[in-house]
């Protein structure tokens, strides 16, 4: 049973990790907790469903289109809601983020209704249901394998972008000192927009995979996932990308083991208790380092 619970926890954790990097990157660059990120994740699932049903796109195309749309949505969020407040007190931007979250949630309800919808079954390849690996009682389906592979691949790609490309270097420069970075000729607004695009695209992928795996999507799904991913980002050290990934996996496994072995009503409690413990012992989070070294 322990092995099965670990597999369950890993699936959940990798999804949290994908959402958490979106929080942590934005925080790293502009020190804003983008509470509307959970809603972008939700839109990812719904847009993918729409591309599949309304336009009849093949799965891969629908997934990519949805990621692109959500990336644009992330940029739009920044331009419309956060950029005008860039030099305002931080609380103003934070409240705006919560406002955008409520706005997007209700927008989704107007467009798609408030009833939960299933994922488009016909669009899923048949092999997803087949067991990929099994040791004894433990079974891992191809659907789960796909989540693992996609999540890990995306995170490796993200790390490459941040460490090897010029834009990535610019992002890190911005995280260290925005004024200095702009004096060095970095187009600050463009780099911030890129950060939002990157995080939102990954969030969309997480939303799509969750809706496939659990076969459901609803306009308020972003809230719970968003809070968990935010906790994961804090656990790993907010601002640190590897920290968010690691934090997501730790939180997912802690939650699953908490539900399986401690007490199911306290499943979230167990996860958050671990987060609190870590923060008390290591205020910068598991992988968070000195404040100046973010992203």
């Amino acid at each position: 049973m322990l092995e099965q619970q670990l597999v369950n926890g890993l699936t959940l954790g990798l999804i949290y990790a994908l959402i958490a990097v979106g929080y942590t990157m934005v925080y790293g660059v502009i020190e804003l907790i983008n509470f509307a990120h959970g809603e972008v994740y939700m839109f990812g699932a719904f847009l993918c469903m729409m591309f599949l049903t309304v336009f009849g796109a093949p799965l891969i195309v629908a997934v990519l289109l949805s990621m692109v749309c959500c990336a644009l949505m992330g940029v739009l969020l920044d331009v419309v809601a956060y950029r005008p407040l860039r030099n305002a007190p931080r609380l103003a931007a934070l409240i705006t983020a919560i406002g955008m979250s409520i706005f997007l949630q209700n927008l989704a309800m107007i467009i798609w209704g408030s009833r939960p919808l299933p994922f488009v079954k016909e669009a899923l390849p048949a092999f997803f249901k087949v067991t990929a690996l099994s040791f004894g009682d433990v079974k891992i389906s191809w659907m789960q394998m796909t989540i693992y592979i996609v999540a890990v691949a995306l995170m490796i790609l993200l790390n490459l972008i941040i460490t090897k490309t010029r834009t990535g270097t610019a992002m890190r420069a911005l995280a260290q000192n925005r004024v200095c970075a702009s004096l060095m000729g970095i187009n600050v607004n463009r780099v911030i927009a890129f950060t939002f695009a990157l995080g939102s695209g990954l969030g969309a992928m997480a939303g799509i995979m969750v809706s496939m795996f659990y076969n459901t999507m609803y306009p308020t799904m972003g809230y719970n996932a968003g809070v968990k991913a935010f906790a994961a980002a804090v656990l790993g050290g907010i601002g640190s990308v590897p920290g968010a990934m690691f934090g997501g996996v730790v939180l997912g496994i802690a939650e699953t083991l908490g539900a399986g072995y401690v007490s199911s009503p306290y499943r979230d409690g167990v996860a958050y208790a671990i987060m609190i413990l870590v923060i008390i012992l290591r205020p910068s989070g598991l992988l968070g380092r000195a404040v100046t070294e973010k992203a």
Binding site: L12, G113, S114, K121, Y218, D268
Partner: protein, 386 residues
Amino acid sequence: MPGKGLKFLGSVCLMGLLMAAVPALAEDVIKIAVPSPYTGSAAGFGENVKAGVTLKVEEINAAGGIDGKKVEAVYLDEQCEPREAATVSTKIANDKAIVGIVGHLCSSAHLAALPTYVREGIAAISPTATSVTITDKNKDAKGNVWSFRNVYRDDFQGKFLAQYVDKAMGLKKIAVFYENNDYGIGLKDAFVKEAKALGLTIVGEEAYMKGAQDFNPQLTKMKGGAPEALFIAGYYPEGALIVDQAKKIGLDVPKFGADGFDNADYIKLAGDAADGLYLTAPFLAETAGPDAKKFIETFKARFGRDVDWMSANAYDATAMLADAIAKVGADRAKIRDYLAGINTADKGYKGITGVNYFDKNGDCLKPAYVKMVKGNAFVPAPKQMD
């Protein structure tokens, strides 16, 4: 001169508003309030209630209204949140044009709004709130009941289901899953109590929160106890996922649920795993009379989905309120007295959900039916309890 321009614009708007308000006043309508969640996570249920009320109100108005006055339903959103419900209840009580209430949908919201209704003296009929606690809180100092319901209570459902599992199905080892709120806990407690009294074994009790998507940890744990059946005290959005995930981990046993599962969306969400669910329902389309058949068809044509029990109950609750208004006039206190007087089956209102009448606590005495999902459709279960 922007100031003058604005003033002019303002007065035009004001005039427009006044003109819009005049016909509404002149027409003289009878207002009923329908407080339910229309946004938020329970909005899907709110839509069901709204659909049922809408059909009844349109029917009444098409037939000329009540004493020549049109009936207008005022839909107030309380998001299934107690704090919102408390605000909405004051709004309803203060609007003297509103003579009665169909709602609330959620038990917790209903409980938060009840004190206002009892104090201000306006009668409510809830088509859906099944919590046991309502019975203790719906009376004023004189013992007059102000909140009625045409749905049974959770303890009745829970007890009934335990008996069904034992007597009709002959299953002895049950795992219990419940949503961690008033509804889920009340239902679970009643079920477990009766199950133990009948000598059944409960091999695990696991909770989950509303909006949860991942039930694998709890199910994995339950599977260790080798249950013969799974009882889920909750609603269909989570229930469908539980059923689906149970099948995926190889826990393929009959599932039991209550009214919270009675929604066509369950089958869509649960997909291949939907079959093998048994549930209690206050309304069974197949055994319904000709009036109900007509309602079912109209509903499908109008809303493009199959009718659910909430819509049916809301339809009947609206009809009872309209009946009361027609008999005693648009007077809040007299409407209450009239509703309280519907206390035997003979005096009961014969609606599409059967005979609706209230006991001295405002609770409803209605039988439960058992439905099951077979071949991806809701069908009456082969065995019904007497």
